[in-house]
Symmetry: C2
Subunit: 147 residues, 2 copies
DNA sequence: GCTTGTTAGTTACAAAAACAACTATTACAG
DNA sequence: CTGTAATAGTTGTTTTTGTAACTAACAAGC
C-alpha cells in the first residue's frame, strides 16, 4: 500500500520533538511555581515586552482569549502581574509584571537558556541555524484547506 | 535584564510550529472520521506496522496506556480495528486494522503526504533534510533534570 | 440622542487529557 | 504449590482545554 512512515510525517515529528523538549521545562515551572503552559507563556511575553493588553498577547502568542483570560486571572491571583484598566478604553486593561512576577521571569529565563543550550548541544551551529529558520517558516505558513 | 526572546526558545518554537502545522490536518481527520489525535496516531501505527499490542504502540509512539486504551476502544467501536486476545498471554491482545480501518488509513496517508509536500515546499531540499535530522535528534534527546 | 455593529474580556458548559487506583494475568522466589 | 511482584490493560476522578454564549464598552450612522 505505501512506503509511508508516520515518524517522518512533519506534523507528527514536530509534535514529538516539541513534547520531548518541553517536558522537562514544564516540570520546572510547574513544580516551582505551579504554573500551566499558558501561564508561563503569558508571563514570558509580559516579561519580554513590558505592559501589554490581553489581546495583544493573544495576537503575539497565538492564544485564544479565553486561555489568556484564565492565565491572567491565575497570575494575578498569585500577584505575579497587575491589571491596570486603560483610561482611554475601559474595556481593556494593561497587564504588567509585579516585582514578584519579574523575579519568576528572571528565574525561568535562566532555566530556559540552559535548556536551549543543552538542546542545541547536539547540533552543529549550522544545524541549529537551519532548524530555527525552517521552524519560523513553518510557523508562518498558512496551509490550504483540505475540505 | 535580558536579551532573551521567547520566540527563539526552542521548546516554544517547536510547539508553535507543531501546532501550526498540525491544525489543518486535525481538521481533516476530525471532520471526516470524528477522530482524536491519539486515535489517528494509533491507526497510523497499526496501518504502518500491522498487528501490534497496545503496549507496543505505546512504546513506539510515546503514548500513555490509558490514552491508548481509550483510543483503541473508540476505533474498535467504529469497526476500524479488531482485538484478538493473545493465546499465549491472555493479558494482552493483538490489534489490527479491519478493511474499513485500512481504507481510512489509506485515505489519511494521502492527505498526510499532500500535507508534507505543502509544508516542505517552502524549504530547500537541504533545509528539509536538516530539519528532519535535527528533529529526530531532539526527539531522542533526554534532558538532564533541573530539580 | 438611539440603533446597529464591533471589540475586550469573562463565564458557563462540554470535550479531552492527565493521573491514580483497579482487575486480571503472568512470572518467579521460596 | 503459595505468596509477592510485575505487566497488560481498564475504569474512575480530577484538571485542562475548547467552544459558545455572555456583559461591558466603544464606534459610527442616522
Amino acid at each position: 500500500m505505501s512506503q509511508f512512515n508516520v515518524n517522518e510525517f512533519m506534523p507528527y515529528l514536530l509534535y514529538q520533538a516539541a513534547e520531548a523538549s518541553g517536558l522537562e521545562f514544564q516540570e520546572v515551572y510547574k513544580r516551582r511555581y505551579g504554573m500551566l503552559r499558558t501561564e508561563w507563556r503569558v508571563l514570558f511575553h509580559l516579561g519580554g515586552n513590558g505592559a501589554m493588553t490581553a489581546s495583544q498577547i493573544g495576537a503575539l502568542a497565538n492564544l485564544h482569549k479565553t486561555k489568556i483570560s484564565r492565565a491572567v486571572q491565575k497570575l494575578s491571583d498569585r500577584r505575579f502581574l497587575i491589571r491596570r484598566r486603560d483610561t482611554s478604553d475601559r474595556r481593556s486593561e494593561q497587564l504588567s509584571l509585579t516585582p514578584a512576577g519579574q523575579a519568576v521571569y528572571a528565574d525561568l529565563i535562566q532555566v530556559a537558556q540552559s535548556y536551549d543550550q543543552v538542546l542545541l548541544s547536539d547540533l552543529t551551529p549550522h544545524e541549529a541555524q537551519v532548524l530555527r529558520r525552517t521552524l519560523h517558516k513553518l510557523c508562518s505558513k498558512d496551509m490550504p484547506r483540505f475540505t
